[in-house]
């Protein structure tokens, strides 16, 4: 998830570049920094820089970074000839480079030559078992071949070594969710929350997984994490507000006949409902009446 400032800057630059207003290198650098996947734009705009000798020399040493970025974008857009050209340029400049070797292996992967790519990656890892990028390519390859259990296995092995890689934990959690392995996904989010407790995204995802698992205890915990998400986002997160309403309703359904759920429960739900209605009134007025009927259906 992007921060507000990053998103604004990105849109600004993207508009500027798309309309021929310059700032191409800044835009491409921002994409690299934020690790965003906009391969069609990288290809178009990156090439315009590379094909202009003046602009290319203005980049100085950054020129090679651009070749690498364009090579990867070309692979993503299935333009293998262009990728090969970029890689050749880099090979000439950096003949023994492992980083270029990695690009070559990626090209094999992009073309679907799985066995050769696997050989290339394994040999790169033999030389450097701590090459994180190559480890991750292996996981990605397993995923593209539909070998989800393989991807899970490789990713778990990777996390045994690089347990501080938060992106990897998130990737694993998302794979688990796609396989409906919710308990395992919950574990991943627990690790993430332990490591970075102030990131609302993890609290929210954890709550969503717990709600999906169901059962009274999970619902009550989910509600707590929706509440902490609201806390961390200053009440601005619609998903968390909806989450409170859903949890309160579901808990109420499960507790029917047992001892009454605390009054705090319904108070929190009312607060969340009010916050949502206020938000919709100002930003999505056309949907306000649907929201109100939906919330009415969730009231205890």
């Amino acid at each position: 998830m992007l921060s507000r400032e990053d998103e604004i800057r990105l849109n600004e630059l993207e508009n500027q570049v798309d309309n021929g207003g310059g700032g191409t290198w800044e835009y491409l650098s921002l994409l690299r920094k934020l690790k965003l996947r906009r391969s069609d734009k990288v290809l178009t705009h990156g090439l315009s820089l590379l094909n202009d000798p003046k602009k290319r020399s203005a980049l100085a040493a950054e020129e090679w970074t651009l070749y690498e970025q364009v090579a990867v974008a070309a692979m993503d857009c299935q333009n293998f000839d262009l990728a090969k050209d970029c890689i050749n340029v880099l090979q000439k400049k950096f003949p023994e480079s492992k980083r270029v070797g990695r690009l070559e292996a990626m090209l094999l992967e992009a073309k679907g030559s799985w066995a050769e790519a696997e050989k290339a990656y394994s040999s790169l890892l033999e030389d450097n078992p701590f090459d994180q990028a190559v480890h991750k390519r292996r996981v990605a390859m397993a995923k593209s071949q539909g070998n989800i259990s393989g991807a899970i296995e490789w990713l778990n092995k990777y996390l045994d070594i690089f347990m501080a890689d938060h992106d990897a934990w998130r990737e694993l959690a998302e794979i688990y969710v796609s396989q409906q392995m919710y308990k395992q996904a919950a574990f991943c989010y627990e690790e993430l929350i332990l490591a970075q407790p102030m990131i609302p995204l993890y609290h929210l995802a954890y709550a969503d997984v717990l709600y999906t698992l169901g059962g009274l205890e999970n619902l009550q915990t989910a509600k707590k994490y929706y509440a902490s998400t609201i806390d961390l986002t200053g009440g601005k997160n619609a998903r968390a507000l909806y989450g409170i309403c859903l949890c309160t309703y579901a808990i109420g359904q499960l507790s029917k006949g047992r001892n009454k759920e605390d009054k705090d429960g319904s108070e929190l739900q009312s607060l969340a409902a009010t916050a949502l209605e206020r938000d919709y009134k100002y930003r999505a007025a056309g949907k306000l009446s649907i929201l109100t009927s939906t919330l009415r259906g969730l009231k205890l």
Binding site: R37, E174, Q179, T212, A284, G286
Partner: protein
């Protein structure tokens, strides 16, 4: 069916790096045993296997369309990988969930290969596969010889679809995920097909 197909397939193009899904809106025709699909609402492009957003979406979509005499009649799913033509467990479970509340619901799975082949051929058949619940309570693919069939009302539907794809209309598509991230974005996409 025209608008319906275009909306779903465009959603696929927007976020073609992950699985996407949507709800189909329509009505059971009084005349014959036909379920007319008149609209579709694109739902999610991330963490499709989670319940909370699905439940909210179902409630709000049903709320909106029941006023117009329409109902949820199906679920649309597109797989993440191009060569994956299987109906995944996630898709089946979401289909089941929807079917519980809307027993007339069927399931449509996007045929990625057919979609890609559109620009090359003259195929007028819908670019998706129809699944319905049989007596054994599982989702079965409906073949061309089966008792149910999927047809498009407009013969030029695929041409319109190709046009939308090439004009990059999918860049403007708003799905329910987008709405939940920013409620000012409208999942009804009122301006998109004008």
């Amino acid at each position: 069916m025209k608008r319906s197909i275009s909306g779903e397939s465009m959603q696929l193009c927007t976020v073609h790096t992950s699985a996407v899904n949507g709800i189909l809106i329509g009505r059971l025709s009084a005349v014959n045993d036909v379920v007319e699909i008149s609209d579709s609402i694109p739902l999610f492009h991330s963490q499709i296997g989670l319940l909370p957003s699905l439940e909210i979406a179902l409630m709000m979509v049903e709320e909106y369309f029941s006023e117009k005499g329409l109902s949820i009649v199906g679920y649309f799913h597109a797989n993440e990988r191009f060569d994956d033509v299987e109906l995944s467990n996630v898709a089946k479970n979401i289909g089941d969930h929807i079917h519980r509340y809307f027993p007339q619901a069927s399931l449509l799975l996007l045929d990625n290969k057919k979609l890609e082949a559109l620009s090359k051929g003259n195929d007028r058949s819908p670019v998706m596969q129809l699944y319905s619940k049989d007596s054994s309570r599982s989702w079965k693919l409906v073949g061309a010889d089966g008792s149910s069939r999927l047809t498009t009302r407009e013969p030029s539907a695929n041409i319109v679809l190709l046009d939308y794809i090439s004009s990059k209309k999918w860049e403007d598509l708003v799905d329910f995920d987008d709405h939940l991230d920013d409620i000012s974005k409208d999942w009804l996409n009122p301006e998109l097909f004008k």
